[in-house]
């Protein structure tokens, strides 16, 4: 049902400016009082105080690469994240595993993996499509750099930010 909003008619007292200013000040001072008593807290003194503890597990911060429990590279450079990335921030150069690795014949690894953080929009599609659970959006949100080149996260940096994460991938598991 539609209803017409009531347009209040101002009383004589309201038409005088001063009473309303006093009423407005009363509301503001009430807020001030609560603020001084510490009942309401509006401002967070960033960066001394941070919101990090409240961030949910699935918070979409900087994308990173992760290794598995044994420190092995998860990414197999399938380039699906490179394909899906809406702003084309990811650039992967596929490569192979070192020849002495016993998985060298069956697996690949990225030779280079660059994410241009000045293009990244933190949408999380890369994490969503990764079939190896290799790329995760971590909780880092303050990504800074002094030049455009600084804003490109190379493979080493991505692994440093990502750390390791247990996952579902069983391919390394001998008793799969």
């Amino acid at each position: 049902m539609a209803y017409t909003v009531r347009r209040p008619n101002l009383t004589f007292w309201e038409k005088l400016y001063l009473p309303n200013i006093v009423a407005g000040l009363a509301i503001t001072f009430n807020h001030l009082k609560k603020m001084l008593k510490g009942e309401t807290k509006v401002v967070m003194q960033y960066p001394e105080e941070k919101w990090d503890a409240q961030l949910p597990e699935y918070y979409r911060g900087a994308p990173t690469l992760v290794t598995d429990e044994h420190g092995r590279e998860r990414c197999v450079s399938c380039q699906l994240c490179e394909f899906i990335c809406p702003p084309r921030a990811i650039k992967i150069t596929p490569g192979s595993l070192p020849t002495d690795s016993k998985f060298a014949k069956v697996e690949k690894a990225p030779q280079a993996f660059d994410i241009d953080m000045s293009r990244c929009i933190y949408c999380g599609l890369c994490e969503e499509v990764c079939p190896e659970q290799a790329i995760y959006l971590r909780k880092d949100y303050a990504v800074t750099g002094e030049s455009r080149a600084d804003m490109v996260h190379h493979k080493a940096k991505l692994y440093e930010l990502g750390g390791s994460m247990p996952g579902l991938v069983h391919k390394w598991n001998p008793d799969k």
């Binding site: 101002l10 309201e14 509301i27 949910p56 969503e128 499509v129 190896e132 659970q133």
Partner: protein
């Protein structure tokens, strides 16, 4: 219906010039202001009251505006063209950046449009979650609209109080989607994740605290003579004008037209919820303000109803051919892995055809027109942005007002340029 604004009479420039010449001929000096010249004033594109990058070319006679030409397009990013070059799911993050004050509602409207093309309907829980998203976005957007409007008309405090409330909505967005601002929450056929447990106590706490806070804002503004003087009978839009200029949302309802897509063409099960549509009577800035305040109260009412009887069950449609398989399956099974790759590279298998879906967004009717030739990429995607259409009324209502009224009118129209220029 009483329209309160007077039609503006164009001053006769010729007469004024002649008078000025006679004045000069009589040996007087300093009469340049009598020459009847009009001043062209650029307002924006970087003016705090134009809420983004709107440029208004104003023609002034003294302090009275005789002509106003909005110049839009400073924030054009070619979103419609971008959509033609990516799969349907890849475009979701771009919808965040249309009306960036209510990204959740944009996500929902876009996903609904593609789902209409696919002929899908979400299960009840999915629909209920989307209603929660839409209404939270509506409150958030109206709070900013209200705060900015009040600040433009000289009430700074309101802005700070509404932003305190908005901050809580951002916290809710973070729990819903994992991002505070660019939510990208929906996917074609569902959502990225179900509502998590911490969300429910948070949203109830927010709703309990929100109404007193809104009352406070109401007390500060609605009966405040300074605010009323600046908004009452300013920028009045008649019912006929509002319809013929294609206005939607609170701007249309402020003019007394009872049109709300949630009521007229219910989607997402809005017909199940008990809520009213506030409409205005005079169509001035004050009415638009009152409508927004009332709409927020109605949104709270809807939210309480949804949360009270949130259905259980799946949140995505069941169409295994067109939905990515669960991550656990992708990790462990070959067929699912292949399907996962095909689906993300080629996109969903949409049928050829065209659809138009419009949702009642905070700013008005956000419509997506999709022309599909089949496959995972739209052949053409047109976005009907409410802010763009709402701005078209400026040349009609601004002339005849004073410079300072323009600020009030722009504030009351509550547009966002990300959507207008898209």
């Amino acid at each position: 219906m009483a329209v309160t604004s007077q039609p503006f009479e164009q001053p006769d420039t010729l007469t004024k010039t002649q008078a000025a010449l006679q004045h000069l001929a009589a040996g007087n000096s300093g009469a340049s202001d009598l020459l009847g010249e009009k001043l062209v004033l650029n307002m924006g594109p970087s003016h705090p009251a134009t809420h983004g990058v709107l440029r208004l070319v104003l023609e002034l006679d003294g302090e009275v505006i005789t002509k106003a030409t909005p110049d839009v397009g400073y924030l054009h990013r070619g979103d419609e063209k971008i959509a033609e070059n990516m799969t349907y799911n890849q475009f979701v993050p771009y919808t965040d950046r249309l009306d960036y004050l209510a990204p959740l509602a944009n996500n929902v409207a876009y996903a609904m449009a593609v789902e209409k093309l696919m002929g899908w309907e979400l299960p009840p829980r999915g629909q209920a979650i989307r209603v929660i998203c839409c209404e939270l976005a509506r409150i958030s957007s109206h709070l900013l609209g209200l705060g900015a409007f009040a600040m433009d008309t000289g009430a700074m405090t309101v802005f700070l109080y509404t932003f305190t409330e908005r901050e809580k909505i951002y916290n809710l967005c973070e729990v819903i989607s994992g991002a505070r601002f660019t939510t990208s929450y929906t996917r074609i056929g569902g959502m990225t994740r179900d509502l998590q447990e911490p969300f429910f106590p948070m949203v109830h706490k927010f709703l309990d605290e929100f109404i007193p806070s809104l009352d406070e804002v109401d007390n500060l503004l609605s009966r405040n003579r300074i605010f009323v003087d600046r908004t009452k009978d300013v920028g009045a839009i008649s019912k006929e004008d509002a319809i013929s200029y294609g206005l939607t949302g609170p701007n249309l309802r402020g003019s007394g037209v009872d049109h709300d897509l949630r009521k007229k063409h219910p989607y997402l099960g809005y017909e199940k919820y008990d809520f009213d549509v506030p409409i205005g009577s005079a169509g001035d800035c004050y009415d638009r303000y009152l409508c927004r305040v009332e709409e927020m109260r109605q949104s709270v009412k809807i939210l309480r109803q949804v949360l009270d009887k949130l259905p259980k069950g799946p949140i995505t449609v069941s169409d295994p051919k067109n939905l990515p398989p669960a991550k656990t399956e992708v990790m462990t099974k070959m067929e699912e892995l292949i399907h996962h790759f095909i689906l993300h590279t080629e996109g969903i298998k949409a049928p050829p055809g065209e659809v138009y879906f419009a949702a009642e967004n905070p700013k008005g009717e956000l419509g997506f027109y999709i022309n599909s030739k089949g496959g995972g990429v739209p052949h053409r995607l047109k976005i009907r942005a409410p802010s763009f259409v709402n701005l078209s009324i400026l040349p009609k209502i601004v002339p005849g007002h004073l410079m300072s009224d323009v600020v009030a009118i722009l504030g009351s129209l509550d547009f966002v340029m990300g959507e207008s220029d898209r």
